[in-house]
């Protein structure tokens, strides 16, 4: 085997030596290709595995943790929720529409492979600066691609996040999450079994799409090929919809033994996975695989990443019946092999044995690296900045001359595309198809009811709360704390909707693992994520690692996106974030404001107003967080809460403003935090120093939820908080029309709403 070919397959010399040892001979081209994809970072998790092992993955609620296509969690009433998040960053950077679309297709397959019916999609998106020349094209393409796929499938896209940050200028992030529901006893695994059972292929025909190292493959095998083949895959949601319906119909019966979708590394990965997990062998004939193109080589057939394909083992004797079912759905399907004894996958093509793949060594003996780790140098420089003293105090000498500086700052923050309404995005997503969406995008978490067609006929009053969160700026400044906050915020969002946080999925987007600084970020982030998931009892049940998110300008901010699912015992008791009635009392839970914290490090305020990313992110105390969440949830259960919204980017002022205008009808708020000793101990201008005013308004202090309650319930709520040892303070009252914050801000809500509603579109166009 020529060293050039080995290198083109992304294998190191040592890895190749390892292959020689395993095989006891030189591999064939097919075998080399298989090793190369199976041992790629993407499939083998070779750099991340040692850290992933330490994550909390267990809990009473967990039916199936990481290792399968998606995590499975018990929600009672005989039902489980099945979910996972996955990245499609690089394909989306090259071709935003198709990249994002096929990302959605892939995550959907991961969920319905397990026998679950997908009921909701979420997406977590990161683009470069809003005014970067590429951003408009990228966001338009990505959003249209997600919409194109999800809408056509008829799965509502109900939540997500969108951030803009310079570090993503050359490498955007597109993470898609899918949530499905199944009857608890009807979960399917990727495990072959039963010697002699048929192995069946169904779905789109196989073409040359996305073949790993496609350029090289065609150089070697296709002399004189005219135009260089694009490696981009085109999504076909229509076929996927048929595959989904057909597979669920099939899995409703008793004929399927084990099933695996064809994702990365296509047939290779699915056959090895099925055989490996079942401790059996598989014999398959590539000549039987439905092909879209002529003269495809076994190498290409094994490595093709054509979309919308599934691979499964069925019970012997059911072949005819199964093929007939697929015919009803107009799908291509074929019996391509059978389960055999032993632990090898034998690959035949036109009567010839073209590859012998030993499953155990390929899947279990994949390389595992403990890469060098080093705390990056940038951190000290940025962390040591005393944000308040250095940026805010001097700047606000000027600010003080302005008569109403704080109102204008608030407007600027609300216009920032990171805070502004994401309606421009989610209005392109069908978020209501399936008629299960009780809370549509625009509140802290989406809430889904579970009606019978989606539960396999089982009745339940329960609902699901869904969210995804990650502030990567915090993670950049302190990966451990940032990751903790991401988990805490996700759980808090669920609590605000009335759900009890249940379990977590993640999508870990980082730079190159070969960079010790990145590996350090990774290790720290995983520590934080693990600790937080443990403390909040939201074990990690599935996830995905995406390394090599870099451009010539450097690595992206570490971005461990958290997807979380919570459960509501009675879905009709859900809560939304906006104020409901004039006269309701506004209370802050989690903070009594006795001491205003200067926690402006890494804040949106610092970025938007001072163009700085510096300092330390806000502190997080997981015990306090848990107390807060328990208190809020109990208050909701007692029916005390009219609205609940967590304080995140933009701090208290932004959370208050959002509660005013994000509902169907805008209302105002009058906050009186008793200007004086409590809020501003040292009484300067505005009763305090500008730094204190700004901290009060815009600090992103964690573990705080803004709620509104009927006047008659205030005492009950405060008593409950006290009993739970959760700090709290009455902020003011819901009024009509105006946003009034002590003597600091007074503006018509309509003005704030305009900034917020149009901020995103204005920023990207």
């Amino acid at each position: 085997m020529n060293p050039e070919i080995i290198k083109q397959h992304g294998l190191t010399e040592k890895e190749y030596q390892n292959i020689l040892d395993i095989m006891g001979r030189e591999p064939t081209m097919v075998e080399l290709g298989v090793f190369s994809v199976m041992w790629s970072e993407h499939c083998s998790y070779k750099s991340s595995k040692i850290y992933l092992k330490g994550l909390p993955t267990k809990g009473k609620q967990v039916v199936c943790g990481p290792g399968e296509n998606a995590g499975v969690v018990d929600i009672g009433d005989g039902l489980v929720v099945v979910f996972k998040m996955e990245s499609h960053n690089h394909p989306s950077m090259i071709e935003p529409f198709q990249g994002a679309a096929t990302g959605v297709g892939g995550i959907l397959r991961d969920v319905f492979t397990m026998g679950a019916r997908p009921i909701a999609l979420l997406n977590s998106l990161r683009f470069g600066a809003a005014n970067h020349p590429k951003t408009n094209h990228l966001i338009n393409g990505v959003v249209a691609g997600i919409a194109g796929y999800g809408n056509c499938m008829g799965i509502p896209t109900v939540g997500g996040e969108v951030y803009f940050e310079d570090c993503y200028n050359g490498n955007i992030l597109v993470n898609a999450m899918c949530v499905g529901v199944a009857r608890k006893e009807k979960i399917f695994y990727a495990k072959a079994g039963g010697i002699g059972n048929p192995v069946i292929y169904v779905g789109s025909k196989t073409g040359r799409d996305g073949i790993h190292g496609a350029t090289m493959a065609s150089d070697v095998f296709e002399e004189g090929s005219e135009e260089k083949r694009p490696t981009v895959q085109v999504g076909d949601p229509f076929t996927e919809k048929l595959v989904l319906e057909a597979c669920l119909e099939l899995m409703n019966g008793k004929d399927v033994v084990g099933i695996q979708d064809m994702g990365a590394a296509g047939l290779t990965c699915s056959s090895l996975e099925l055989a490996g997990k079942g401790h059996v062998g598989i014999e398959m004939d590539l000549s039987k695989v439905p092909l879209r193109e002529t003269a495809m080589t076994p190498y290409e057939i094994m490595l093709s990443e054509s979309q919308e394909r599934m691979f499964f083992v069925a019970k012997k004797g059911t072949e005819k019946k199964i093929l007939k079912l697929f015919e009803k759905w107009d799908l291509d399907a074929a019996v391509v092999g059978k389960v055999i004894k032993g632990q090898n996958v034998f690959v035949y093509h036109e009567g010839q044995l073209v590859g012998t793949l030993p499953t155990m060594p390929i899947t279990e003996c994949a390389p595992m690296y403990k890469r060098p780790v080093k705390k990056p140098d940038y951190l000290e420089k940025l962390n040591d900045v005393n944000v308040g003293a250095q940026f805010i105090a001097p700047e606000n000498k000027a600010g003080r001359d302005e008569s109403r500086p704080y109102g204008n700052i608030l407007k600027k923050l609300l216009s920032s595309p990171n805070i502004a309404s994401k309606k421009w995005v989610y209005r392109q997503y069908d978020h209501m198809v399936g008629t299960n969406t009780a809370v549509i995008p625009g509140s802290d978490a989406a809430v889904m009811r579970l009606k019978e067609p989606h539960t396999g006929g089982r009745k339940t009053k329960k609902g699901l709360a869904l969210t995804s969160d990650c502030n990567s700026r915090y993670c950049y400044l302190d990966p451990k704390r940032g990751a903790m906050i991401a988990v805490a915020e996700a759980a808090r969002n669920i609590v605000c909707s009335g759900g009890k946080p249940l379990a977590t999925t993640d999508c870990l987007n980082f730079g190159s693992p070969e960079n010790p600084g990145v590996m350090w970020q990774f290790r720290e982030a995983l520590k934080g994520m693990g600790e937080a998931c443990k403390a909040l009892n939201t074990p990690i049940v599935s996830g995905n690692v995406s390394f090599y998110n870099e451009s010539p300008d450097g690595a992206i901010y570490p971005t461990p996106t958290i997807g979380m699912v919570g459960v509501l015992d009675d879905v009709s008791k859900h809560v939304t974030q906006w104020f409901k009635n004039v006269g309701d009392v506004v209370v802050l839970l989690g903070d009594d404001l006795k001491k205003v914290k200067d926690e402006l490090g890494g804040s949106e305020y610092l970025k938007v107003i001072h163009q700085k990313v510096a300092g330390m992110p806000p502190k997080i105390d997981l015990k306090k967080e848990k107390v807060l969440q328990n208190t809020c949830l109990e208050a909701i259960k007692k029916g005390l809460i009219q609205s609940a919204h967590d304080c995140s980017e933009g701090g208290l002022a932004v959370a208050l403003a959002e509660s005013c205008f994000t509902g169907p009808k805008s209302l105002g708020v009058a906050v009186d935090v008793g200007v004086g000793p409590r809020a501003y101990p040292d009484k300067g201008d505005h009763g305090g120093s500008p730094l204190q005013a700004i901290s009060l308004l815009f600090s992103e202090t964690q573990s705080r939820i803004l709620v509104s309650v009927k006047e008659k319930d205030v005492e009950k709520l405060l008593r409950l908080a006290k009993q739970k040892k959760c700090p709290s303070v009455i902020l003011g009252q819901v009024i009509e029309n105006d946003f009034v914050f002590s003597d600091l801000i007074s503006v018509p809500v309509e003005q704030l709403k305009d900034c917020w509603e149009n901020g995103l579109e204005r920023a990207i166009s």
Partner: protein, 219 residues
């Protein structure tokens, strides 16, 4: 009353329609597979929303040739009641059961949001439970809902009172703000907004049930 709900490959609001008919209206419903060459005995045929055949080439263009559509055409011809919602409306125009055509939204984007409509005809079989000029809020979710017809057709539709729903804030460029029409005989309704999604107060933050009356008018 019995509703027959057509399922094409790519239909995705078939279950939603089934749910409201059986659980909200407490009527009977039955799915009808697109390959059926014969309609079962039903009182109303519903052509639901979705992306029949992926909406490839043109929305509704391929579905119209499904075997079951010949039967639906016959059923409608003998006075049977037919409702096409969203993709169903597109299928109805493509098959010639309703005049005009639904083109790409002028904004070129898919739009999903609650949209205010006005009921401009309340004597049709599908709208008699509404008040005339009543404003209702019904969700739209489509990329190709821009209603177009030539001048003559448009005049006829307006003259004969065949326009049933009009957008109050035109979301897609439809001529005359048309959101839903009936045929000249009054037994076929096509509308882009989704009444079946606005029949249960638990959905969608706004607690409205404005879509109910479309179905209730038929009972």
């Amino acid at each position: 009353m019995k509703f027959g709900i057509i399922t094409f490959p790519g239909s995705n609001c078939d279950w939603d329609c089934y749910h409201v008919v059986t659980n909200v209206l407490k009527q009977k419903a039955q799915f009808i597979w697109h390959k059926e060459a014969k309609l079962p005995k039903v009182d109303v045929v519903v052509i639901p929303g979705g992306f029949s055949y992926g909406d490839y080439l043109r929305t509704g263009a391929v579905a119209r040739f499904s075997p079951v559509m010949q039967e639906v055409i016959r059923f409608a011809g003998s006075g049977g009641k037919v409702i096409g919602i969203c993709n169903g409306f597109q299928v109805l125009t493509e098959s010639g059961l309703l005049p005009g055509v639904l083109m790409r939204n002028t904004g070129l984007k898919f739009v999903c949001e609650n949209t205010p409509l006005q009921v401009v005809n309340n004597h049709s079989q599908f709208s008699k439970k509404f008040d005339l000029k009543q404003n209702v809020m019904i969700l739209i979710a489509h990329g190709e809902g821009n209603y177009f017809a030539d001048n003559e057709t448009l005049k006829r539709l307006e003259g004969e009172g065949q326009v049933v729903f009009r957008y109050l804030k035109n979301p897609n460029g439809s001529l005359n703000d048309i959101a839903g029409i009936i045929n000249d005989r009054g037994n076929i309704l096509g509308m882009m907004p989704h009444p079946e999604r606005c029949m249960e107060s638990i959905l969608s933050n706004e607690a409205r049930e404005d879509g109910k009356k479309v179905f209730e008018s038929l009972l």
